[in-house]
Symmetry: C2
Subunit: 119 residues, 2 copies
DNA sequence: ACCATTGATTACCTTTAGGAAAGTGACTTT
DNA sequence: AAAGTCACTTTCCTAAAGGTAATCAATGGT
């Protein structure tokens, strides 16, 4: 029997979806990255403000996650010329492509929460 | 200075987005769950077929992830009345809400891949 | 000189994810 | 009786994620 599943299992189409999906998962999965990005969607934030908004994260982890996002060109780092030096983080244009992921996750999370906590 | 960020930091609105987002991340993050769900979007699959399609996963991990998805009512488990017993896994209606997440991730992953491998 | 602020970094530790390999049990085929 | 199939399960292990706490360097204020 040849199901539609079997029919597309060897196609380029499948790879064209699977590989990018794995890339995205590898880049975004973990406890913090998506939360950090969400907090930056409203505009640039300094390290300290981000640290306060992303509840529960430690400075060590925040620093590491930001470096990771910067390397992947999703976030820019700008040192400001202020009295105690401050550093601003902002999303790049490239990060706009994450907005739909965020929206979809929030939508799903809401539905899921309603379903689990008794419909 | 009161930025738009500061303006909404204490609102119910922010929580209404942050809590579901954290739920979704907790449920879906990890190396395999989203891949498994993607493979089930085309229809029910038996354990063995799923194991072959989700390249690289071990039976132990596949089994664990499926139990987890079942508990969260995203997947159903059906024992079939076949010669060697087979078990089919299928997405629930509730899992439809994940489709937009999948699409968004694939779209983002494609763009990201193009950008990283030299625009 | 001393303290405060900001943005980290370091050392240390615990927890969790996940991989490899083998085994189990129900059943069928040879 | 032996071997194979399917769906797991178990054991053992490593690597990565992530938490706590302390420290550092630059700067400015008192």
């Amino acid at each position: 029997m040849k199901t539609s599943a079997a029919a597309c299992s060897n196609t380029a189409f499948w790879q064209e979806r699977t590989l990018p999906l794995r890339d995205a998962i590898e880049l975004l999965s973990g406890k913090w990255k998506i939360c950090i990005i969400q907090n930056l969607t409203i505009g640039a934030l300094r390290f300290k403000d981000l640290h306060e908004r992303v509840r529960g994260i430690s400075p060590k982890v925040l620093s590491k996650e930001l470096q990771d996002l910067e390397q992947n060109q999703l976030v820019t780092r700008t040192v400001n010329d202020t009295r105690p030096v401050t550093v601003s983080y902002a999303l790049t244009e490239h990060a706009d492509a994450i907005q739909p992921v965020l929206d979809a996750l929030i939508e799903f999370g809401s539905k899921h929460r309603k379903m689990i906590t008794g419909k």
